[in-house]
Amino acid sequence: MSLAELICPAGTPAALRTAVDAGADAVYCGFQDATNARNFPGLNFTPDELAEAVTYAHARGTKVLLALNTYPPAGKVDLWRHAADTGARLGVDAFIVADMGVADYIARTYPGIRLHLSVQAAASSPEATRYYCENFGVKRVVLPRILTIPEIRQLRREIPCEIETFIFGNHGLMVEGRCSLTNYLTGQSTNMDGVCSPASDVEYVRDADGSMSSQLAGFTIDRFGVDEKAGYPTICKGRYAAPHRPEGYYAFEEPISLNLSRLLPELIEAGVHAFKIEGRQRSKSYVRGVVRAFRAAVDDIKAGREANIADLIALTEGQKQTQGAFETKKWR
């Protein structure tokens, strides 16, 4: 049976301790630079903070996974190598990588440390996954959020590594690691600079009637009426006017979060080894609430009880949730 490990987010040392105390099997985190895909202002760990975090987590039986899951631009690979060296020195349990050069460096230099393939690598076929396993010794693939459960079950039979799927949180719908929307407007790349819709380019404007516009690099990407729930200022969740919909509509995706709590038993049965909770940019309150809820649910299922899933709607984007492609390819 799948071990159903819970992989939990930590944007700060306090959030990491919160996740560990709430029952995380592993916590993932990153440094304060472009080497990870949550390079947000004021977020993430210094090497000293990571050292303390590893000590705290290991003392309680929790693993620490270091996200090095962005793509080094040519000539800048030293930042990623240095981050890997620091992580190895501090005793992290695994690196989460997307770039083949970074994977190759770690596989050669630190063959004793596990490599997990980030969702940012967008490996969704058995061929792609096997390539990473065979060439870099990847032990786990984090699957893109585009596969149904029957597809995951089939994939499990065809690859030689563990599977991790997202279970809760942000639901971007472009191919992970390939999305250039934010780069188009702001000049900063999600995949190389590690941040989608950088805060320095975001502005919220309150209109006279109480509605709120969210703007990215001077472009209005949504306008929320007084009673409407809001979402993140990401282009994929913007509301746009088009010739056939002049009133404006969510052309790609609406503000919504993934929540697979009801599919947990099926995912475990399909052989998913680990479940990832998204949200390193979220607060300790979010981490505590979501980790506790999924800890309880996984423990129930493992004990053969029916899982009593807590209501997490208050924490979802736009206060809406979806099972996305996991339930059906026709979800959007």
Partner: protein, 175 residues
């Protein structure tokens, strides 16, 4: 250029005078609280980075005044200001007082409060994100810490506030 934002002017008759009096009474309390936080949580300033010099306006909608914060460790400013004389701020954070307090204490999630429209931000978004992340990395409860500084009367005020403003947006507790 740092964008500026202004507090909402919602003055009712006589409110200006009440606000000025409340600010005078509160100031020594605020000064003590902010000095204490700065001493006990020095790592907060590193996360603020360049926004140690930013003027934040914290605007609790149901109180007759706003709070002006400049988290500069060399020259900390935290003062209550009547809305009509509030300075132009680099960033403004607006919401119910207790919600703002609970955000600082990680009893509420800032993004969730933003999604539900209970929390409004304007001005320099990066400054707000940095302040949020810096505060979220603090252990313990600032509300408890601050109220404990004033002994039993302080704790009584906090308990009363919590009763007066029951929570609508908080996710349920998971046993």
């Amino acid at each position: 250029m740092i964008p500026t934002s202004e507090p909402t002017a919602r003055l009712r008759p006589g409110e200006g005078a009440i606000a000025r009096l409340a600010c005078l009474v509160l100031q020594p309390v605020l000064t003590r609280v902010v000095r204490r936080v700065a001493t006990r949580h020095p790592s907060l300033f590193a996360r603020l980075g360049p926004h140690q010099a930013t003027d934040f306006l914290i605007d609790p909608v149901e109180l007759p005044f706003a709070l002006h914060l400049r988290p500069d460790p060399q020259a900390l400013v935290f003062r209550a200001v009547p809305r009509d004389t509030a300075p132009q701020a680099g960033a403004t954070i607006r919401g119910r007082f207790l919600l703002l307090l609970e955000l600082i204490d990680a009893e509420q999630d800032g993004d969730a409060a933003f999604f539900s429209r209970d929390l409004e931000v304007s001005g320099d978004t990066e400054a707000v994100v940095r302040l949020r992340n810096a505060l979220d990395d603090m252990d313990g409860s600032l509300a408890e810490e601050a109220s404990a500084m004033f002994g039993a009367p302080g704790r009584a005020v906090l308990a009363r506030l919590r009763r007066a403003y029951p929570d609508a947006t908080k996710p349920q507790e998971y046993a």
